[in-house]
């Protein structure tokens, strides 16, 4: 029978002679199921869940109210001014889209690279992706002003409009990129969840749960013929999602890079944005998963090793982002373009210098702590660092969007951007929406991909001896 190593093993050490286990605490197949399904089957979730859910749903209600206010009054309720036409809504949009990148990265790219440690965290990371994209999509959605004609964004043949979108505009690419990303992420997430939903269906006692989980698990039986095609489809989706995830933030960066505003019009933006997105996404995964594993006692599935691996990715992408900051300055000087030069000097010493230095200290300096092993193996400390990273990444988008716009080519039109209460409320509200969705996910859906975790658990060969043909089967083992 499949069982894992002893309880509370420290799996963060690297011993070349022995694979570090990905599941600890002596869990076997049954144990994994019990652990994950136990969250849904529990009569009541922990008290703290109710508290958090109450707060976050209230904040979400506030967000709903603010959106209604916006729709009734118009975009004047924001601090957007002339020349800062893109204020916080776009900052928030880019921030949330960036957060959304870690999920697909973990599930698709790490899958293609056969990084088995992804199995414990991919489900939650994908859920986070979807919810982050929901928050992200909301901002440009309400930023278009007349929300009720949002369908003008899509190439829908209409008799009264007699117009089509301009496919040469980066903003339209964005519409396609973000909506494709949201859809493919949803499909990927849902497809991965089908076998686990079937587990929930087979274990739930109440008729309603049985019906709902039954409906969404589509009658999954675990037939090996089904698994065969399922795995093929999963592999194809991963292969499709990998370029997709890189393309999304690339295209988001085109919104800026294709324009001619100094500080935006740079070719480094696509890789720089993608690195930043992965950076912020992993920070958000840690920020969410550390409390979640504690709350629902998932320490044996989401082990310290998983967290440590993510910290390593954070420090790597953090340094890529830092390099990009440096290159931007080099190019500003090397290009000899006075406007470009001014834009960057203005960032560092101008009226938004405070934001710039928050960005640099949070994104470049703080993550360096992860070079120290204690920092990347102590969960609470990671969360602190990751919160700083998230603050830093929000300010990165703020610096890019606001500083360049507020001081553009014509000094007579310069203006300082001040957010209104509605701006601030909407940013907080988007966190409320995100948290609400994530808490619902934790309670009602399989937080860990059970089937995938089971497939990477080592299992003994039992009394069947050493058959050669078993080599293939054990490919799933860390081998």
């Amino acid at each position: 029978m499949a069982t894992t190593a002893d309880q509370f093993v420290d799996n963060t050490s690297d011993d070349p002679g022995r694979r570090a286990p990905l599941v600890t605490g002596g869990l076997d197949y049954t144990g994994v199921t019990e652990k994950v399904a136990g969250i849904m089957e529990a009569e009541k979730p922990p008290k703290i869940w109710y508290v958090l859910f109450g707060i976050s749903s209230l904040i979400t209600l506030m967000l709903g109210g603010l959106i209604l206010h916006l729709l009734m009054k118009g975009t004047g309720v924001w601090g957007n001014n002339n020349p800062v036409y893109w204020g916080w809504p776009i900052v928030n949009f880019v921030f949330w889209v960036g957060i959304g990148h870690a999920g697909t990265l973990i599930s698709a790219i790490l899958f293609l690279f056969r990084q088995n440690w992804r199995t414990s965290i991919n489900r939650a990371a994908e859920a986070m992706t979807i919810f982050a994209v929901v928050c992200a999509g909301m901002f440009p959605g309400i930023h278009i002003g007349r929300v009720w004609v949002f369908y003008w964004l899509f190439p829908i043949p209409t008799e009264h409009l007699a117009m089509w979108p301009n496919f040469r505009s980066p903003l339209l690419w964005d519409v396609f990129a973000v909506s494709t990303y949201a859809t493919v992420s949803l499909v990927f997430w849902y497809m991965g969840m089908i076998p686990d939903l079937a587990t929930f269906r087979d274990r739930s006692r109440s008729k309603i749960k049985k019906f709902i989980y039954g409906l969404f698990s589509l009658g999954w039986t675990g037939s090996c013929r089904h698994w065969h095609r399922y795995e093929a489809a999963y592999m194809i989706l991963a292969a499709l999602a990998t370029p997709l995830v890189l393309s999304v933030h690339t295209i988001v960066s085109f919104d800026f890079a294709v324009s001619q505003v100094p500080g935006w019009h740079t070719t480094i933006f696509p890789p720089y944005f993608v690195a930043g997105a992965i950076f912020s996404g992993f920070a958000m995964v840690i920020t969410l998963m550390v409390p979640a594993r504690k709350l629902f006692k998932l320490e044996n599935l989401i082990t310290k090793r998983h967290l440590e691996n993510m910290c390593k990715i954070i420090v790597a992408t953090g340094m890529m982002v830092g390099t990009a900051y440096g290159i931007e300055f080099f190019i500003a000087w090397y290009s000899g373009n006075p406007y470009e030069g001014f834009a960057f000097i203005n960032r560092v010493f101008g009226n938004y210098a405070w934001a710039y230095w928050i960005m640099v200290s949070c994104n470049v300096i703080v993550p360096q702590l992860f070079w120290i092993k204690w920092c990347r193996t102590t969960p609470w400390f990671m969360v602190v660092v990751c919160i700083f990273v998230n603050i830093g990444m929000w300010f990165e988008r703020f610096v890019i969007t606001i500083t360049s716009l507020s001081r553009d080519f014509v000094p007579s039109s310069w203006a300082y951007f001040r957010p209104t209460l509605v701006d601030i409320g909407m940013l907080i509200g988007s966190f409320g929406l995100f948290t609400t969705l994530f808490l619902l996910f934790l309670r009602y859906l399989p937080v860990v991909a059970m089937a995938e975790v089971k497939s990477v658990m080592p299992h003994e060969h039992g009394d069947h001896g050493d058959h050669d043909d078993h080599e293939e089967k054990t490919a799933a083992d860390p081998a």
Binding site: T30, T33, N166, P195, G219, T221, S223, C224, A233, H464
Partner: protein, 539 residues
């Protein structure tokens, strides 16, 4: 009887054997395929067990090829979509929007790559997901396996092998024994319940009802489209139809931001726009040569009522009656002002300006057959809009008008025609007047009798236009309808010398219009140009 009934009610599907770990299942699959010779069997596992495909003999899925096919088509679809919507406008229904933006080409592949890519990824992802479901024949919510309580652990920690009854080698007892031999922990019959294969009546009724309800809105919409209604359209979203701003010459609002306010006006005369004060001159009006800028003779004493703007929405002070009366006309200029020399260039310029500003309504030949007028008349006939028919410039009442009056009409508009003083500058307006006169001249085979004054003007314009007639007529000729044969015939002989000269003079005229206000220079250029042109005409 009852016996046979119960027999019919269930059907054996196969034998289900349970195993406790993946290795023994794999072993059993291998044995079933090799030793037992079974082909119709399936293994059920909580997670994908690698190697079981070979053990049980599953062929590779064709899913990747389906995805490839869909992806390639999506690529083509993405290209066609963008080309059709942005670079082609041939289709009569839902035509593309072939619109040039920032001077960039309407069709440039690099700019279309991101959207093509996204469409490929989206379509391929759908193909992978739905292809997988279809090939797996999912969703299948009613499966006899789900009725077996032991089978519930298949999604948790147990492994099963089912040998189907359809298999040729299947024999209930023998297969059971074999399965036990191969290490099955439990062997169980799977029976399909035949009694409740019928679709539940309640759900059936509910679905039909839902369908009917869903059909209602489209039916109602379809019905409404074919009906006439006196009540205004439903206006779900007000958009920007009502705005908190003053329309020019609108009566001041009685409510402001929902509160009722005393009717107060921004300016006297119940107007939201400041009217031009009497005796003031706007900046672009040239002061000095009043004949040039107004078309009225210097010794005139009658005020030009057409020059005083009145609101469209309110009656002028004095009421209906006063408006009805034929107001006394000022003394219009019958000759062109001194600073305007009627020559080839002026007429060429006039033709160009006329074709830009006037022909849309009055038609290229001035017969009132412009596109706007035609379309508006069509709509007016069907009652979709109101429209006053555009004047035919060859109408006898128009033909007798002195040049000053035509100039005034262009300047201030008349009846429903709007003023053009802001769009067309003074010299160009005179050029248009000259061209209009030339057009009228071409149209008139028998010259109408005129009184002394207007006759002067006519002959003056006519004479000067004579030399130029060819030019004016030529441009018009290809587009005039059969009825205009006269003008066309007249212009024919000179046709050949036209192209060079025309482009030449056009260029010069454009240049000239840039500093049109410098009349002195203009004059010199005029005479110089006309000389040149005469030469080129000759040569």
């Amino acid at each position: 009887m009852t016996q046979s009934n119960t027999e019919k009610e269930t059907r054996l599907v196969g034998l289900l054997a349970q195993f406790d770990d993946p290795d023994s299942l794999m072993q059993a699959c291998e044995s079933a395929r090799v030793d037992g010779g079974y082909t119709r069997m399936d293994a059920f596992t909580p997670f994908p067990v690698h190697g079981i495909d070979q053990a049980i003999g599953i062929k590779r899925t064709i899913l990747p090829f389906i995805v490839l096919f869909v992806g390639l088509n999506a690529c083509l679809g993405g290209i066609v979509l963008q080309w059709y919507t942005n670079a082609a406008s041939f289709s009569p229904i839902f035509p593309g929007y072939d619109f040039r933006i920032s001077g960039k080409p309407t069709w440039s592949l690099p700019a279309n790559v991101p959207v093509i890519f996204e469409i490929i990824v989206l379509s391929s992802a759908f193909a992978a997901f739905f292809g997988m479901l279809i090939l797996n024949k999912l969703p299948r919510l009613a499966n006899p396996l789900h009725r077996i309580s032991r089978f519930k652990r298949v999604t948790n920690d147990r492994f099963f092998l089912m040998i189907e009854e359809r298999d040729d080698n299947f024999d209930l007892e023998q297969t059971r024994a074999q399965l036990n031999d191969w290490g099955a922990v439990e062997v169980e019959e799977v029976n399909e319940d035949m009694t409740d294969r019928k679709f539940p009546a309640v759900i059936k009724t509910a679905l039909i009802l839902l369908l009917v309800v869903l059909m209602l809105p489209p039916v109602l919409i379809y019905r409404a489209r074919g009906m006439v209604s006196r009540s205004p359209r439903l206006h779900v979203v007000p958009d920007m139809d009502w705005q908190l701003k003053y329309e020019a010459q609108e009566i001041g609002p009685t409510t402001l931001e929902g509160r009722k306010v005393e009717t107060e006006y921004l300016f006297p005369g119940q107007s939201a726009a400041q009217k031009q004060l009497i005796g003031t001159v706007s900046r672009d009006e040239i002061v000095g040569d009043s004949e040039l800028t107004t078309g009225i003779a210097k010794d005139n004493t009658v005020p030009n009522l057409n020059a005083i703007p009145t609101s469209r929405y309110q009656e002028p002070p004095g009421g209906e009656q006063k408006k009805q009366e034929n107001p006394p006309e000022p003394k219009w200029l019958t000759k062109f002002p001194e600073s305007i020399t009627v020559n080839d260039q002026l007429l060429a310029r006039g033709r160009e300006r006329f074709n830009i500003y006037c022909s849309v309504c009055h038609g290229i030949s001035g017969e009132g057959d412009g596109f706007v007028n035609k379309r508006a008349m069509e709509l007016a006939l069907t009652g979709k809009s109101e429209w006053t028919e555009v004047k035919n410039l060859h109408d006898p009442t128009i033909v007798v008008q002195p040049v000053g009056k035509i100039f005034d009409t262009i300047t201030h508009g008349r009846a429903t025609m709007g003023p053009y003083r802001d769009q067309i500058d003074v010299n160009d307006r005179w050029a248009i007047v000259a061209y209009v006169k030339a057009l009228q001249e071409l149209k008139l085979t028998p010259k109408p009798k005129e009184d002394a004054n207007s006759g002067d003007g006519k002959t003056d314009g006519g004479k000067k236009a004579d030399g130029k007639k060819a030019d004016g007529g030529k441009k018009v000729e290809p587009k005039v309808t059969a009825g205009k044969g006269d003008a066309a015939k007249k212009s024919d002989p000179n046709k050949k010398s036209d192209p060079n000269k025309k482009s030449d003079s056009d260029k010069k005229e454009d240049k000239k219009s840039d500093d049109a206000s410098k009349t002195e220079n203009g004059k010199k250029e005029d005479s110089a140009d006309s000389k040149k042109e005469n030469k080129s005409d000759d040569g």
